[in-house]
């Protein structure tokens, strides 16, 4: 029993160790990052955080911004919207963060956005693709930006790819009804695909956490589609892919950036060969900007950066760029600089911020061969 009593203390002592050392000299400019470091989507928060820290450390090696070093503070939200709201409030009011970075999932960014507006601190979301994150009804949120494209664009990209490159005309949709991202992508894909002359032969749904998809897949099989659009997250997508093959269906699957995780290939074990998904970037893109980033990331973390790491890197770099251009380090000044971003050369493409604070930039389509994603094409807005 004595050991049992001492355990939490020991854990707390251990956990308390990795504290950031305070840099000497001028007061650092603090980037507050809210991410899902634990929970179902832990790889999303982890990748984004690595990208952000890489960008910040590179800038610090170049002497920081306006003579001041940069610092990052990351708070976990466990993948829950209400936790994201409290974490954002804490970063902005207690830690006085200059810029708020996050979140990956739109439902969490939606909980953070009103807080950024309230405290007049610019927020940059690396990869929340739901339109409502930056635009609440008819009003653009003044302090909220993103460096990724939005769901309508991602859905239409895959519709174009399916019609123009894959030359398919009959597609089935399998969407995660519990996930706004998946529902959004599926709706925009269906609209564009029909506009381009294709037909949606089946529209089935599942819920995140499901293990068995045979019922939906059997229903889809009966309609004989040429491809299946599954805009979900990686865990379910990989399981769906395997069960598709187990049912003897050979159709390729298509999806969005929610597929982007090394876990996808670990679980799918080759079942996704021939499938394709839209993403923010490809690490195989020969452009020197991307190759330099991939090399730096690999040197530091020992793994190939995924799209979310690239988006996190770009979010931090756009914020750094805006602070450099802003006449002073204050919320409104940085916001104005962010809104004026034009032709910024990011890893995920050349980014221009439009009137609704969305990034206008190309999307890449990745094709899976031999259980790994390979760059297929770039589709411009």
């Amino acid at each position: 029993m004595r050991i049992a009593r001492a355990l939490p203390l020991a854990v707390l002592a251990l956990a308390g160790c990795p504290k950031q050392e305070a840099p000497a000299g001028p007061q650092p400019i603090l980037f507050g990052h809210v991410g899902s470091m634990t929970g179902n989507e832990a790889t999303f928060g982890d990748s984004t955080d690595k990208g952000i820290r890489l960008a910040v450390d590179e800038q610090n090696k170049r002497g920081g911004v306006k003579g001041r070093p940069l610092a990052v503070k990351t708070l976990d939200d466990q993948g829950k919207p209400e936790e994201a709201a409290v974490a954002a409030t804490r970063l902005l009011t207690e830690d006085k963060a200059t810029v708020l970075l996050g979140e990956v999932a739109s439902s969490r960014s939606l909980a953070m956005a009103p807080i950024a507006d309230l405290d007049k601190v610019p927020m940059v979301s690396p990869s929340s693709t739901n339109p409502r994150v930056t635009k609440d009804g008819a009003v653009t949120r003044p302090y909220v930006f993103r460096v990724c494209f939005i769901d309508p664009f991602q859905g239409t990209v895959m519709a174009k790819y399916a019609r123009d490159t894959m030359k398919v005309s009959k597609v089935a949709i399998l969407r995660d009804v519990g996930n706004d991202y998946s529902v959004g992508l599926a709706d925009y894909f269906a609209a564009k695909f029909k506009e381009l002359g294709g037909t949606i032969v089946a529209d089935q749904s599942y819920k995140a956490g499901d293990q068995d998809f045979k019922a939906q897949l059997t229903a889809i099989k009966g309609k004989h589609p040429e491809a299946i659009y599954v805009p979900g997250y990686y865990t379910e997508v990989a399981l769906i892919a395997r069960q598709t093959r187990e049912l003897g269906m050979q159709q390729p699957l298509m999806g969005g950036d929610g597929w982007d995780s090394s876990k996808l290939y670990e679980i799918a074990k080759g079942a996704l060969d021939g499938s394709a998904f839209s993403n923010h970037y490809s690490h195989e893109n020969p452009s020197p900007v991307i190759q330099d980033f991939v090399k730096a990331y690999q040197a530091r973390y020992g793994s190939v950066p995924d799209g979310l790491a690239a988006a996190g890197y770009d979010a931090a770099r756009i914020a750094i760029d805006a602070i450099q251009r802003a006449p002073e380090v204050s919320g409104p000044a940085i916001r104005d600089a962010l809104a004026a971003t034009k032709g910024f050369q990011g890893v995920t493409g050349v980014i221009t911020i439009d009137a609704d604070h969305n990034a206008v930039k190309p999307a890449v389509v990745l094709k899976i061969q031999d259980n790994a994603a390979h760059y297929a094409t770039t589709i411009n807005p």
């Binding site: 956990a15 209400e82 939606l110």
Partner: protein, 328 residues
Amino acid sequence: MRAPGLALRSLLPFLLGLPALLALQGSLSDFWASVLITAGVNVILAVSLNVVNGFTGQFSIGHAGFMAVGAYTAAKITLAAAGWAPAGLPPRLADGAVFLLALLAGMVTAALAGLLVGMPSLRLRGDYLAIVTLGFNEIIRVIIENTAFLGRATGLSGLPRRTTFAWAWMGVIATVVMARRLLGSTHGRALLAIREDEVAAEAMGVDTTGYKVKAFVVSSAFAGLAGGLLVHLIQLCTPRTFTFVKSIEVVVMVVLGGLGSVTGSAVAAFGLTLALEGLREVQEYRMVAYSLLLIVLMLTRPTGLFGTREAWDWLPRLPWRRRPEEGA
């Protein structure tokens, strides 16, 4: 002689609480206000669930479902009333009135949902009730996720920020007063009798199902209040907030504080919220530390922090204070 005294006992906490809360509110930073509001919401949830799980001895794990019903009702009302400004009323007062109305409506719909679920399922006992309530929780969430009117999986965004520290803690006072007054009443005694021995209670003429349903309805209403308060803090109403994980969190708070102890569940809910916030700094180890805390507490105090006792049971007996005879 008794009636005015009783009314005073119920009203006094509100009359003393409001000015104190308003005074405290002015000195709180935004961050502390939002942490304390979250803590307050959790206290409301834990104390109201204690009415079913602690007083009545039933096992419900669908509290988040009722929260969702109250939250969506309140959110729909404040959204519909956005921009509505009656002539002759200062806007702050009008907003407050709309919010109060929305919260009350949320409580009513949550209570109706409680009645709907309670009527058939409270004839069941133990594990069976747990499964039914869990099922209800999921049904509510799935219905919301498939209803366009409720914003599907994205939920309702753009809610006004209405929940302040004073609002949340007035809700806490209301919940605690309700629980304490209930426990001292005929109803409360009947609930305790059901918890101690359902067969014996029935043999003594207690309408067991009737009392259980009533307790369930009251508990659901306050879960609805907590839901309404929470979504007007985070300004977003999404089904992701009301998963069964949330229900389990509330059950943990109740068990940790002591089944049947109002102050116990309030202290546990408050303490756990603050502990989780404090542990946020340690990132990945946060949930490990939290889980270890729970395990150690359960090993060392299996009846929960307070057992079935209340905080003031440990106070020395003051000459002017009569200790009410507790049945438990």
